[in-house]
Amino acid sequence: MIAGLPPKDKNVPRRRHPVIESAPPRLTPVGEALAKQISDVLSDFDVSITAELDEVCCLVRAPDVERICRLLKEGPLTSMKYMRLLTVVDYLEDEAELEVVYHLYSLEHHHKMMLKTRVSDPSPEVPSVAGVWRGAGWYEREMHDLFGVFFQGTPDTRTLILPDDFEGFPGRKNYPINEYDEW
């Protein structure tokens, strides 16, 4: 913190702006076809399908995640063989939930999609998908370090990018930032 300046109140947005626009979904015909396909493939599960810009976005219940991922990867219609990204978004302040987001891609069909699930705080647990895509292993360790989400059945539970004795979950919004003196 710069000496002499009053501490910032993080609850106050920097600048008030009366209208907040939303980015309109712009699904391509391929994306719309994929959305239909996914609702067929995942008809046994509790799924809600929306769109974010040009990506199909699919919200599922946390306990189903691993089975759904396996279906999406192995089903010939979807064949999401490439997991691009796994991340957690902290909505604890407004909605008391953490959102786990998987970005999937199919090299055969050139389909991309987001898979989302929501967990809440006392026990934020999601089944691990490291058995589906091995590349998920490090993402799950990192997201446990930063957000405290437990990925049940992940092969390695050691800390990855934080020191072993680190306390707290620094990725979360309630973790203080810049609260140190000049040195």
Partner: protein, 380 residues
């Protein structure tokens, strides 16, 4: 993996002597790990039987910092992720914000961006070829490649004012137009670099010692490479022609003609040679851009403080190291609500244990070299 002899099985077979597994710690401060990376190898004699990578020594919390900065300020943080391919990082961030805002960039700005990114790919690969040769014991190529790399860095300096950490791309375009006589300087640099690349290629690629060190070492097939989430030259060396520039063309890549070099074996030599060929393709792309580029605007009109609408966006591009992506969750403020980077080196590095186990200890350094990691990006 083959069942290893233990003390008991050796005693049963009447084999004299005993071996004890030894743990060897390499890094975090070791020139061969290309940064602050540590790996703990367990060796049986000269064979690696287990490898545990440790990362996080350069973790600066960049993603969290981004949540407290304006979008224009985030560009400077992105320069410091993959610090040998700065332009490519900046590009992905500004593309993500533009995609969220539905903003088009002027044609000349798109060409300048492409030009800078391809030149940056050349510098990054030149650095890789040089340092990789060092890893295998060849001292000379790195000196030639640094000479050539410096020619492009000087061009970058003339364009953006900095050799690295350029902060040149803006949401909606680029900071300013190219300087006077840029094309002439670029042309003379390119022809010298072309000769330099061929020279190093002749010096290194058919060297028998180099071939022995790299051919057939640490193979990975296409299916498991995809499973690990590898991307870029590491994935293409295994025969998967996945390149974001052709898969989901961005900027004006549809207007240029270029090949995507693909390997067949997925071994260290393929991972090396894919990059050598990519340098040549990039030089071709740069030449085409210079022919196609026309004078014009380099920046669209935007608010001074960029404020994208509420929404979520994922944008990605082909970096020298692979598929670099950014996921932004915006709530319509000056700063992103959440920003997450998909770092290609991070995904590539993850496959290290599978690649080195079963090989000689000396090969572990070579394998790590072919993954071409940049720790600024791995740890963020």
């Amino acid at each position: 993996m083959k069942q290893r002899d233990t003390l008991d099985t050796r005693a049963a077979k009447g084999v004299p002597g005993r071996t004890v597994d030894m743990m060897i710690n390499i890094g975090p401060q070791h020139p061969a790990t290309h940064g602050v990376f540590r790996m703990v190898l367990t060796v049986d004699g000269e064979r690696v039987i287990d490898a545990v990578p440790h990362i996080g020594y350069l973790h600066r919390g960049s993603e969290k910092l981004c949540e407290y900065e304006d979008y224009a300020q985030i560009i400077t943080l992105f320069d410091r992720l993959d610090y040998v391919a700065n332009f490519n990082n900046e590009l992905v961030l500004v593309m993500a914000v533009e995609k969220l805002m539905g903003l088009e960039v002027p044609e000349r700005a798109a060409y300048i961006r492409m030009l800078m990114c391809e030149l940056n790919r050349i510098t990054s690969h030149l650095l890789f070829i040089g340092t990789f040769a060092l890893d295998t014991g060849a001292i000379t190529p790195v000196l030639y490649n640094f000479r050539d790399r410096e020619r492009i860095q000087a061009l970058f300096e003339s364009v953006s004012g900095a050799r690295m950490m350029h902060n040149y791309f803006r949401v909606g375009g680029v900071k300013e137009d190219l300087p006077d006589q840029f094309n002439e300087r670029l042309e003379s640099a390119l022809s010298e670099i072309e000769d330099g690349v061929d020279e190093v290629d002749r010096l290194l690629s058919t060297n028998e010692i180099f071939l022995e060190r790299t051919k057939g070492v640490a193979r990975i097939d296409g299916v498991s490479a995809l499973d690990w989430g590898l991307s870029g030259p590491c994935l293409r060396a295994s025969g998967v022609p996945y390149d974001v520039r052709t898969e989901e063309p961005y900027l004006l890549y549809e207007r240029v003609d270029f090949g995507v070099p693909v390997g067949s074996q997925g071994d260290c030599w393929d991972r090396y040679y894919t990059r050598v060929l990519e340098v040549k393709e990039s030089i071709r792309i740069v030449r085409q851009i210079m022919c196609q580029m026309a004078p014009g605007e380099v920046q669209t009109k935007t608010r001074r403080i960029v404020r994208p609408p509420q929404g979520e966006v994922y944008a990605h591009a082909e970096n020298p190291r692979g598929d670099f992506g950014v996921y932004i969750v915006s709530k319509g403020n000056d700063s992103p609500y959440r920003l997450k980077v998909r770092p290609p080196s991070y995904c590539n590095l993850q496959a290290l244990p599978q690649l080195v186990v079963g090989h000689y200890l000396a090969d572990a350094i070579v394998v790590l070299g072919t993954l071409d990691i940049v720790l600024g990006e791995v740890d963020r």
